[in-house]
Symmetry: D2
Subunit: 356 residues, 4 copies
C-alpha cells in the first residue's frame, strides 16, 4: 500500500534510480493557495548535499505540478507532483545486484516480490520521502489556514541529548546544520557526526516533533487515535525504530497521582497544568501541545567491509559505495514534519463530519 | 473509525455500560475451524476480577457468535460476536456526568461530539478491548495454520524490569498473576502493584511482544510497513504511550557497524547473526523473531481526590469510585497479543497477491 | 466486502437461519435523534408476511440497538443493531443441502468458499436486506435534517407499467399492497402477481426511485460519481439486473439537441427546463430531482420441479418449498429507498470537506 | 475519490488542458511482463482523431512509465504512467469560462468546488479516460495470465441495433470505424453518425461488453457483487446513463420458469443451459460468459446555439466550438473494456484469500 490518509490522501510512487518519483494528493480542499516557493523550500530542507554532514549525492529535487492547481489555487481534483531523478549513477550499485546488504531491504524485497530494482535500493530508498515532503508541504499550507504549527528538531545524536523542548527556542532549529535548536548541543552533535563519518561509520538519533495550536477534538477513536496514526506515520519513515508521545516510555515509572494532568480554567478555556498526555487524551487532541519522539537507527550503509550472503546464500562481503549520510536525523526533520502534517490535515478534514 | 485491517477486517462496537459490546470480523477465510473454547480462554485472560491485582469488577465476558460460522467452521461471511455487559452499576458514574476526570477522555469526547455516554467512560473504556481479544483469538487460529506463534508478557512495572526476552522461558508467562515469565521479577512486581493499590494509586509498565515463525515477506511498503502497522495497533490500545521494535530507542546510540545484522547461511536458510532489526527490514519480515515493547502509562483513575473542572469550566474535585486496576499491564498482555495477531493475519492475507 | 460507504459506513452480518442478522453503522454524526419507531416502521415495510402477494414467512423483525445511542441521540460511536431470526424452519432446506437451485447462489458460494450454510440461502438470502433497511432508516433521519426526501415505488410488474413519476402522486405509494401510486395500474399488478402465484411461478418488475431536494454539489468525481454509487448500491440488492438514471437506455436514441437540459434563471436559482440528466451532471447533483429505475428479475425460487445438478454434478430435480415471494418488487421498495439513503448520507458527509 | 479498486488499485489525475494526465497503479503483482506496445495499442484505440466519425482533436497519447517496472517486468511497487497533453488550444474555451454549457459539469463543479478549471472541461473531460485505458491495459495483461478475455463492441447507435452478441463474430469488431462486428449494421451506423455530424448534432448509443473464461468464484458478497462493481465502473465513465447485465431490463417481463438457468453436467463441468444470469449468480461469477450493456447519452457539446445562463445566473447562449465527437460509442469501446479489466483484475486478486 503506497497510499496514506482517509480524506487527505496521498499515493507516492517511484524508485531511487528510475525516471522520477512523485505523489498524487487526492482530497485536498478546493481554493487553497498553493505556494510553490514554500514547497521548494521544504524539499530543499530534505535534499541531499545540503551540508558537510549529509550525503554528497547531488539532486536538485525540482518539482513539477501536473494537475489539480489552476490559477494558483487547488481545484479539489488530484494534485500530481513529479520530481525527476537526475544524478543517478546506477553503476554505483551493480555490486549489490545479487548481494544482500546487512540491515537493508534487499533480502526481504527479493523474498517478497521474487526480484527487485536493486539500483540505490529501488523503492526501499529514502528517496521516496521527497514525495512525502512535497505532499506534506501542501498539508502544512492547509493547516496554516487554521493556525496549526508543526516543528521538528534533532533532540539526540548517539548519546548527546538536547534539553526538553519546552526549554528550547524552536525558531533556532534551522540555525545550524544538524537542526538542533540548542547551539551548544548542536556543536557537539556536528563534531560527533563528523567523527563518525571519518570512521566510515554511521550513528542514530532522535527527532522530536511539536505541534502547537491543534484544535480540540482531532483524532478518531478507537483504532485511528491521533497518536496511533502519528505513530504509524513516523514508523513508516525509513530507519525509524520507535515512537513515543507525551511521557512516553519514561511515563511507565510514574504513579497515576504524578502522571495525571489536572484540568484548570484558564480565563474561560479548559487547560491542563502538566502535559504528560502529550496533547492527546483518549486518542483525541485536547488543545495542549502535541509532542513526540522518533528514534532513528544508524544508517545501514557503512563504508566498511561487512560479511553477508548473496541471493544464492553464498557468503561474501559488501561495502558501502557512493555517497551516504553518516547520520540521518538532520535530513529527517522535514520528513517528520511532513508526516505529522499529513496526519493532522487528514484528521482536520475527518473531524468536519462528527456532529450533526 | 472503529474498524481495523485491510483484508482481515474487524469493526468493534459497544460502550462500557450499554447492553453489549462486540465485533464483526470480515474477510476471515472460509474453512477455518473456530475453536470456541480457545476464544473463551483468551477472553478470560483479559477479563476483570481474575486476580487480586486487577479490578474486582465482575464480568463473565461470555461471548455469542451470531453469524459466519456453520458446522464449526468459518463460512467466509462476516463473523459477528457479541458480549453482553452484565455488571453495569451505572450509578457509580453519576458523579462524573458533568466532571472531567484528569487524563481521561471525558473532556475530549465532550468537545468532539458535543456530549458523551459518561457511564464508565462509555466508548473510551478499555472494555472495548474485549472485542479485540475475541477477534484476535480468531486471527490466532488462522495464524496457527501457518505456524506463527505470538506471545506477550509483562517486562516492566514501574522501575522493575525483567531480563531480555531471549533469556526467558515464555511458556512460564501464565504461571503468575502479573504475567512476567521471570519468577523473581514477577514476585517483586506483584508486591509493588499491591503496595500501589494500598496507596490508592496506580503505576505504569511495559508489555513485550514476541512473534515467532513469521514467514519471510509479510509487510507492505511504503506506508503499511509491518512495524508501522504493529505500532499503530499497539498505540490504539488504551493507555499506551510508546512503541519500539528491535533495538528501539536504545539503538540510536549505536554505530552502524554495531547495529547492522550480518546475514549468514544457516544450512541453506538465510539468517542474521544478531537481530537489532527486530525481524523486520524495509518494513517486511525477514523470518527472524519479531519483538517489540509497548509502554503503558499508569491508569488515570486513582482513589484520591484530584482537582479538576466540570463541563462549564468550574473548578471542582473528583475521585475514583468503583473498581479499577492499580496497574493495567497484566490484563494488557492478551490485548497486545490480540492486536499483534490481527496485524499479522491481515499481512498474511495481503501477501497472497504480491506475485503473479 | 460486507461494508458500504466511505464516511457513513455500514457493515452487515448474518445468515437467513443463524441466530441473528444485524448491522454496525460507523460514522453517523453525533447528536442525531434516533427515532426508533421510525426504524421499526421501515422494517415493517420490508418484512415478510405483510400481504397476500408477499411470502408468508413470518418474522417480526424486531430490532435492538446495542450501542452508539445515549439518551435518544447518536453519540458518534458505532451504532450496532441486531434483529433476531425467529421463524427459522431449517428443515425446509435440507433438500437443497447438496443440490444447486437454478439461478440461486448455491453453486457459486460452494465454488468460492468450499462449502456453504445452505439453510435458506444462508448469507445470500435477501433476509440480509433487513439490516440495510435498519441502517437506511438512520440515514434517512440524517438526511431529513437537510430536507432530502427519498421515495421509491413499483413502476412495472411484468409488462404492466405505471406512468412517468412526474405524473404520479408519490404520497399514494403506500395506499396499496403492490406499492404503485397509480391505483389503476396497481390493481392490475396485484391481479397479475396473484395469477403468477397461482401458477406456482414468479415474475419480475421495476422499482423507480425519486430523490427530492438534494443539495447541489453531492457526488465525487471521477470514480465515485453520484449515479455510479447509486448504481452500485442498487445492483448490490438481491435479484437486481439493471440500473438507469435520468433518460437511461431510452436516452441513447435522442440527439444532443433534444437531450440537453437548458439552464435558466428561476428567480435567482439556476434550474434546468428538462431533466434528462436525472439530477446529476458530471457525477454531481445539480439540485433537480434525482430519479432512477431498478430492474428486478423474477424470483428464482418457483414451486415447480426444475432440472438441475447436485454438488457432485449428478443430474437431479429441485422444487421450491417453504414460503416465497411471487414477485419481489413490493417488498423491494423500502430496500431501494434504504440504499439510496445510504448513498446520499455518505455523499452529504463527504461533501463537507471539499472546500477550504 | 479519484481512485478505484481494492487490491488492484488505480489513482488517476490530470485535467484536459493541464500539463499531463496520468495514473498510478498500486497492487499489480510483481513479475508481470509489461508489454508497452500493447499499452500503446490500447491508447490508440481510444485516442481522438482516429477516424472521420470521431473528434479531430489531435493527441498522440504517447505514454511514459515513471516507476514500478524494472527489466520489463512489474516490481510490485506502484506503476506511474504519464501522458502529456499536447494539442491544448486553451483559447477554444475562453467563451465558457463564465458560462454553463447545458448537460455538462460546468455548473456542478462550480457549485461544488467554488471555481473550476474551465479549459476543455478540466477534470470532467473524457480525456481522463485515457489514464483508465492505460491502467486497463495492464489489468488485461494480468488477466491474460489466467485466460480471461474481455471484448466490447458497439451494439446500438440511435435506433440502430446489432444482433445479440452470441450471433456475432467479435473478432470483427475492429474491422470498421464504428466498432460494430456486424458489417451491415456498422455501415448504417456510420452513415447515421455522419449525418448527425453534418446536422451539427450528436447521438447516443450502447456498448456491449463480453467477458469470457472468467474463473468461477469471482465477486464479493454482499455489497461488492461482481455485477455491482461492474455497474459502478461503467457508470463512472463519462456520458453513461445505464447499465444492465444478463437479461437486464427485458428480464423483468419474464416468469421465473422462463428466466431460471438450468444447471447440467457438461462432461464433468457444471454449466447452465441458458444464461439469463449473465455469468453472475449471487454476485459471484459462475463460469458462463459475463455480458452487459452500457447506455451512452448523446454528447452534450453540439455545434448549435443553445440558451443557458452564466455563473451570475444571467441568461445567454452558448455553442460548441473546437472539435468534438458526434457519437461517443466507437471510442468508448476500449474504455468499457479497460474498466471491465480493472474490475476483474481486482476481483481476481481478492479471490486469492477467501479460503484457508
Amino acid at each position: 500500500m503506497n497510499n496514506y490518509g482517509t480524506l487527505f490522501r496521498i499515493s507516492t510512487f517511484g524508485e531511487s534510480h528510475g525516471p522520477a518519483i512523485g505523489v498524487v494528493i487526492d482530497g485536498c480542499p478546493a481554493g487553497l493557495v498553493i505556494d510553490e516557493v514554500f514547497i521548494q523550500t521544504e524539499l530543499d530542507r530534505r535534499k541531499p548535499g545540503q551540508s558537510k554532514i549529509t550525503t554528497q549525492r547531488n539532486e536538485d529535487d525540482t518539482f513539477k505540478i501536473l494537475s489539480g492547481v489552476f490559477e494558483g489555487k487547488s481545484t479539489g481534483t488530484p494534485i500530481a507532483i513529479v520530481i525527476e531523478n537526475q544524478d543517478q549513477r546506477s553503476k554505483d550499485y551493480s555490486h549489490i545486484a545479487n548481494t544482500y546488504r546487512p540491515s537493508h531491504a534487499d533480502f526481504t524485497y527479493d523474498a517478497k516480490y521474487g526480484f527487485r530494482d536493486y539500483r540505490g535500493g529501488g523503492r526501499s530508498s529514502a528517496r521516496e520521502t521527497a514525495a512525502r515532503v512535497a505532499a506534506g508541504a501542501i498539508a502544512k499550507l492547509l493547516l496554516r489556514t487554521i493556525g496549526v504549527e508543526i516543528q521538528a528538531f534533532v533532540s539526540q545524536v548517539g548519546d548527546l541529548k538536547a534539553p526538553h523542548y519546552t526549554q528550547l527556542d524552536l525558531s533556532k532549529t534551522e540555525d545550524n546544520i544538524v537542526r538542533c535548536p540548542d547551539a551548544t548541543t548542536a556543536e557537539k552533535m556536528i563534531a560527533l557526526i563528523d567523527q563518525v563519518r571519518l570512521d566510515r561509520d554511521t550513528i542514530g538519533g532522535v527527532v522530536t516533533g511539536v505541534i502547537k495550536n491543534t484544535p480540540v477534538g482531532l483524532g478518531e477513536p478507537v483504532f485511528d487515535k491521533l497518536h496511533a496514526e502519528l505513530g504509524k506515520a513516523m514508523l513508516s519513515i525509513n530507519a525509524v525504530k520507535g515512537f513515543e508521545y507525551g511521557s512516553g516510555f519514561e511515563g511507565v515509572t510514574l504513579r497515576g497521582s504524578q502522571h495525571n494532568d489536572e484540568f484548570y480554567n484558564d480565563g474561560g478555556k479548559i487547560k491542563t497544568k502538566t502535559n504528560h498526555s502529550g496533547g492527546v487524551q483518549g486518542g483525541i487532541s485536547n488543545g495542549e501541545d502535541i509532542y513526540f519522539h522518533v528514534a532513528f537507527k544508524p544508517v545501514a550503509t557503512i563504508m566498511q567491509d561487512q560479511p553477508t550472503v548473496d541471493k544464492d546464500g553464498k557468503e561474501t562481503t559488501v561495502s558501502g559505495k557512493g555517497r551516504h549520510d553518516p547520520c540521518v536525523v538532520p535530513r529527517a526533520v522535514p520528513i517528520v514534519e511532513a508526516m505529522a502534517a499529513l496526519v493532522l490535515a487528514d484528521f482536520y478534514l475527518r473531524n468536519k463530519t462528527v456532529k450533526v
